[in-house]
Subunit: 445 residues, 2 copies
């Protein structure tokens, strides 16, 4: 596909390119343009039909968008920018370098510029930052047919026409009505009689994750957003909510792997940037890991005197502890971010993990004891020490693994940080302390 | 809230309960009913207005649904079941014990039963399993006003009216038209002239994750599903797609923590079930961890003779290796499931990770060397051995961490399984081999 188009471009067969692109969806055209070489990009874009150009542009990646803007005449830019949805325009501006931003804002119509600036002022990750200001608004005393007239008039420019918003004189939101209700109602019935005044709405400052949760809970297509004075300022649409769900999951996963989360994709993140995302936790964890080492050093002499064999089981003990801990912490962290678990559940969670720990610990200990005696042929005492430590480690792992994330959440930290790497480091030290104390007791080292 | 209602129920003030519930959204009513004690559940449900009862029922959790069904008379059950959306009814049946299922199917209308059985036959996680058969279908020669008439007539029972589907005589899907287009078109224009024949559709057997990806890529509200003979059989709606995104993320996260994924939530999964989800990997990883131990045992004598200090750095080396590996694997696994990375990218990914590894390795080694010399005051040779091993471990960790998930994907395994626990276990062994070999070379142990 890409190759065919490149070929045609090289041969200057622009009409054929136009024909091929016209059969593609805007999203796919955008992807094709992302891959077109710089020289052909402007030509390719210019042969797009006027009505899809802005739409395609909004789906392109920021690098290609920047390249294009640099080749745009002021009039071309004006046309594209003012055809964009406000939220796409705001998103674009956040990606562009300042000189490009200046040009964009200059070419935006006053109304558009006002809306863009409003959207840009909202904090990152807030409902305001993902909303759009283009919606259908109605008055309570309109009839259904008035409503349809208004939708026909302004519908083209609004992100969704499937929910219309009824506002009072002072711009308070007093109700919503779905296109479905409108279609199923009598043409002469009054909006105020069919509107739903028991609607869900969020504040502009609400966290976008909470917004996404509302979409999932109530199966919404759009969610109205109100400002501090409770005035209706915009809507979030489901296509943006679904992206939030995806992004939040990625951030959780990154945090769980001791990576400082970013919005950028893996491919788009540069080497040095990736390094900066990973090194902080690596350093912290490396330094704290040396604590486990110092415990071993305390027993250096004991090990020296005939018990160096004990060191052979350290990897297994630490590994199992880490795995048990990360299983518990991961389950709990996910449950927290899905809203299943709050601080209120902490005791029921602990009780559950303790029972799971008992089952896991005993199973692992039996399996391990058998292996130690039959395969490794180590002494009964050493096997005993290893397996006792194993049981205790599993208990501590499950306990710490489920408690830390909940506590983190309770003191407003990101629970995801309390995931395997962090927990493992703690458990390494604890399991070693247990190991050597039991060894001292049983073997008298 | 819950308490207040419970109080009123105890005092038999059902009218007041009814009043309170009537002000709540169906989803919230369902949540309240989930928490109502068994004795009051049927009463609570019966006082709900007829038109919301089925809706509320579909949002309740399966335990409460089962309890209710057992208290239903056949006529009550009939009423509820036939008011449900087909996909909700199918979902309900999958949750219920066989005797309840029999009752449900008996009370379903023939048409309903047919649709339910069709949905139930599709494989788990397929597009067919999350679709619904209730949609608005039009004929190409209808006019826009005919279309509106049909929507008004059948709209109430269909899951969405915002996309209508145009089918040919042989039930092939030939186009789709959005309510927006209908509303913005002239009443007399023919459907075939305004319909979009360049629509996205999926096969019933398509994986639901791929379905969700299409929703995100094309910002869809609904997606048509066609069978093997390319006949139009149903639609998936965005509210179900968003749930898929959430569930898939959870499954990835669980797999990454060496937990066998399930559909059940953490709270709903019993202790023994949780144990069964966790123990398989724990056993596998414990046994493979002993391999690392056997490496240490090979050097038992060497350690015995004055180099037991080397064991003190094993936790730090293994820990850091594990963390570097899980950072790389997690980033890559997530990128794969977001569709950014395929086997084609393997070399660019490796090249990137190698450079990141260089930066991380050197930084960690320098930090560690300084600490060893200045804080721990160990000999220069030992510090050298430790830091050389550290650099090599980081390289191997980043390399294995990025390669294994991609290879897993290439041979159709779940990449998420190649996450930290698995990678860590491999790295423990490798880093120890490197450690002792370097020690032999430098210290001549």
């Amino acid at each position: 596909m890409q190759d065919k188009i490149l070929e045609l471009l090289k041969e200057k067969k622009y009409l054929e390119v136009k024909k091929i692109l016209s059969q593609e969806k805007t999203v796919d055209i955008a992807e094709i343009l992302n891959d077109v070489s710089d020289e052909f990009l402007p030509i390719c874009f210019r042969i797009l039909p006027k009505d899809t150009a802005a739409d395609v542009f909004s789906y392109m990646d920021s690098d290609s968008q920047e390249k294009l803007i640099k080749t745009f005449s002021d009039s071309e830019l004006k046309e594209i920018i003012n055809d964009l949805y406000v939220d796409d325009a705001a998103a674009l501006i956040e990606e562009m370098p300042s000189n490009v931003v200046k040009r964009i804002l200059r070419s935006a119509d006053p109304e558009m510029r006002k809306s863009i600036n409003m959207l840009l002022q909202y904090p990152k990750n807030s409902a305001g930052s993902i909303m759009t200001t283009e919606y259908v608004s109605l008055k309570r005393d309109m009839t259904v047919s008035d409503a349809f007239d208004k939708i026909r008039k302004y519908g083209v420019d609004s992100e969704t026409i499937y929910t219309a918003y009824i506002t009072s004189k002072n711009r308070r939101l007093i109700g919503t009505v779905s296109a479905k209700t409108l279609l199923l109602s009598d043409m002469n019935s009054k909006i105020e009689d069919i509107m739903d005044s028991n609607f869900v709405s969020v504040a502009t400052t609400e966290d976008k994750e909470a917004v996404a949760d509302l979409f999932m809970k109530y199966d919404l297509l759009a969610l109205p957003v109100v400002d501090a004075e409770n005035r209706f300022v915009g809507i979030v649409t489901v296509d943006d909510a679904i992206d939030v769900v995806q992004d939040e999951a990625t951030e959780d996963i990154e945090a769980m792997a001791a990576i400082v989360p970013t919005d950028k994709t893996y491919i788009k993140t540069g080497v040095f940037e990736t390094f900066l995302k990973r090194i902080p936790w690596l350093l912290i964890l490396m330094v704290s890991a040396t604590f486990a080492g110092s415990i071993i050093r305390n027993y250096e002499n004991a090990l020296q005197n005939g018990y160096v064999i004990l060191t052979a089981f350290i990897p297994m003990l630490m590994g199992t502890g880490g795995n048990c801990g990360s299983q518990a912490s991961t389950s709990v962290i996910r449950a927290i971010s899905l809203g299943e678990i709050t601080i209120k559940n902490i005791f029921s969670v602990i009780w559950k993990e303790i029972r799971v720990a008992f089952l896991c610990g005993v199973t692992l200990a039996i399996a391990n004891f058998a292996k130690l005696m039959l395969v490794d042929r180590v002494s009964f005492e050493v096997s005993l020490v290893v397996c006792l430590t194993l049981v205790i480690t599993v208990f501590l792992a499950k306990f710490i693994g489920c408690v830390l994330p909940i506590l983190a959440k309770a003191i407003k930290l990101d629970p995801a940080v309390m995931a395997s790497p962090f927990i493992t480091t703690i458990l390494d030290a604890i399991s070693l302390i247990a190991y050597f104390n039991i060894a001292t007791a049983v073997l008298g080292i």
